[in-house]
Structures are given as structure tokens and as C-alpha cells.
Symmetry: C2
Subunit: 213 residues, 2 copies
């Protein structure tokens, strides 16, 4: 059975991106700081075709998150930002020509667009008929493997409110952002019953994993 697994980094006060997101600053003001625990890792360097980097307590968490993932779901902002129709020669997103997914990625959007095949096995599929449809398509594509729910806050919160997420792995960065895109907004008490599975104390971050239901 395919599980929908959220893994995401949030600030101690619950934000997964800063305010004023833009093409130059896709994570918003201060949003890059959320991921400072990730950049020094060997796993991050390898994603970008580089060598070196360190291995620490976060490394096995990153491996765990990537294991057995056959498809990814993300919001339009996480693919490439912008609003409205895509236009005739649309931007190919900010993941570059060899995105670090290597499997089908389903992008939630209000505007239709042809699939976009990149190098390395990543194809972006643009889904206009809602979160359930994107999940069904991702499950088909994943062929029995799990699905990574990647972000951003708006997409994730819709899946959480609909009770469609099976597992949460939250990296808590030592930051107070005070503004931006907040995780867990729009939920009601009782929407999610969580059981803590494990917590990992890593340099500059804590990773907490929960089972839902």
C-alpha cells in the first residue's frame, strides 16, 4: 500500500517559508535559513552533483525520507512560483534541468499545462482537478512505493485537513520566523491523531516523526 509521507522543515514557531516569496527568493524572507542543517550534508552535495560534505545524525534521516518513494506531490509555488495561466513558453521551474526527484512529480495548479520531462527521470505533471486526483495519480505512478508530500504549506495543509497524510516527519529548525507560510493552519482540533515514532537530535535541527491515526 502506498503511504503519503510528509517530510518538511519548519521553524520552532511553525513556519515552512518566510513572507514575500518571489522568483529570486522562493522560500521568502529568511526561508533559506530553515534548511541550514541540510546544506553541509554529503546527501545535499550529491543531489547537486557535487562531492564532499559531512555525514552526521541528519544523514540517516534524509536516507530514510528518500527510501521507497516512487512519486512526489508539491504545490505550484514549490515547482516554480507565479500565478495565472502558464503562457506560451513557460518557465521550467527552479529545480534545474536535472531535478533531484528522479521520479514523477505531481504539481497542484489551477492552470493546465503539458507534462514537462526533465533529465534524470523527473517528469512534472500538472494536476488541475484537486488534491485527491493528484494523490490518485501519484499512487498509480508510484507502483506500490510511497509518495512524498513535499510542500508548500498551502498544499500540505489541504492534505492534512482532508486526513490523507499517513506519516509526518518534521524537522524543527532553531528559528523564530514570526511571519510567512504556516504549517498546520486551517486544521480543526481532532483532525489529526498523532503518535510520536522517534526524534533525532542532530546538529542544528531536531527531526520528529509521527504516525497519523
Amino acid at each position: 500500500m502506498s503511504n503519503l509521507r510528509l517530510s518538511i522543515t519548519m521553524s520552532l514557531d511553525g513556519y515552512v517559508a518566510g513572507p514575500v516569496q518571489s522568483e529570486e527568493n522562493p522560500l521568502g524572507v529568511g526561508g533559506m535559513e530553515l534548511h541550514e542543517w541540510f546544506f553541509p550534508l554529503n546527501a545535499f552535495r550529491e543531489m547537486h552533483g557535487e562531492q564532499g560534505g559531512e555525514t552526521n545524525a541528519s544523514s540517516s534521516v534524509v536516507d530514510e525520507r528518500r527510501a521507497n518513494i516512487g512519486a512526489t506531490i508539491m504545490g505550484r509555488n514549490m515547482f516554480g512560483g507565479g500565478t495565472g495561466p502558464w503562457g506560451d513558453d513557460p518557465w521550467r521551474g527552479w529545480w534545474g534541468e536535472d531535478p533531484p526527484y528522479h521520479h514523477p512529480v505531481f504539481v497542484l495548479t489551477h492552470h493546465a499545462r503539458e507534462p514537462l520531462e526533465m533529465n534524470g527521470g523527473t517528469t512534472f505533471h500538472f494536476v488541475t482537478d484537486g488534491i485527491e486526483s493528484a494523490l490518485a495519480q501519484a499512487k498509480d505512478a508510484a507502483q506500490g512505493q510511497d509518495i512524498w508530500l513535499a510542500g508548500g504549506a498551502s498544499s500540505v495543509n489541504q492534505y492534512l485537513a482532508a486526513g490523507l497524510v499517513d506519516e509526518l516527519d518534521i524537522s524543527i529548525a532553531p528559528l523564530i520566523m514570526a511571519a510567512g507560510e504556516r504549517l498546520f493552519e486551517g486544521l480543526r482540533r481532532g483532525d489529526l491523531k498523532l503518535t510520536q515514532i522517534r526524534a533525532v537530535d542532530a546538529p542544528g535541527v531536531t527531526h520528529i516523526k509521527y504516525q497519523v491515526g
Copy 2:
């Protein structure tokens, strides 16, 4: 030097109490669930003059939080709730005649009241001239030991915004509360620079400690 140390339990979505706080339900709707990790512990039983209970990974965290504390600061709601003047024969708060502090406790309030001496070394002092005054009085009383900033959200957020807190030890309960009293509200980006000191994976809770500044 006396440090001001916050230790508090919050839900994964940042609440330290539920909505609709009342005398019968001092932590608000669902607020008691935040502390479910604490109730089975031997340390909790002992606080209430009972025996038994378990020892687990949370036990050393609780010991650490209590060590070297010479005074406590809390908001009026955490002492006993209510608003307005105290009246002629005011309630003695919900901590009972032998409160689990055993040192001076400074209660932030807008309404003057004589100190209230309880059994076991706890005296409640009611401070009407603001958070800095309460901290100065607590430092005097602590005689070189540290001060515990206990709650609730409103008092804690005032101390955080004023840059007066030296250490945060946050217990993250596996709950989405969705409403209630939120920690870290009213702060601005940059108000707090945090360094993660350690995280502890304990049954049903994760304890993360940060140094401020």
C-alpha cells in the same frame, strides 16, 4: 548569574493551552492532553506526595529543569485564573496548600494583593509593576540560582519579546490543538537567536533545549 529559563510543553502546532480556559479547566479545552507525557512519571507522583510511577527518558529532563531553580515567575492565569480585583477573601489558586514550587513564586497581575504564604516553602508574591520588576524581584529571591519562567503564553511571550529569556526547553507534545494560547506570538523576526543544545526522544514527547543569543 541568574538565568531566566523557560520550560513549557507545547503542541506541535505551537499551543501551550487550549481555548475556553476556566476555573474547572485551567488549561482550556484539550490542554491537559499536552501533559500526558508527564503524568505517568515518578517525578509527577512525588510532586503530589504519591509513590510509584515510571522512570523514562523524560525523567532526567524533568530533573534538569528543576535543578538550580530558586524562584518562579508565572502569569495570573497560571496561579489561579480570573480577572479584576482579587476581592476580600480571594481564592488561594489551584496549586493547593502545598504547591510544588518550594520557593518564592512571582505572579504577574494588574491587581495588588498581599503575599500568600503556603506550606512547603512556597510564597506567592503578586507583582503589579511589570515583567522587568518581577524578574528583578525573582533574581533577588533566587540568591544566585536560576529563575523558572513557567507560563502561560501571554507572560512568556512578553519576556521573549523583551529579550529577557536565556534558555528555552520546549516539550513538543504529539498534538494538533488548532486553537488556544499560542507560544511565540507577537515576536518579530530576529527577536530571538536560538542555538539548539540538545533534543531528547522520550515516550510521547520530544524535549528540545535552546540557548538564546
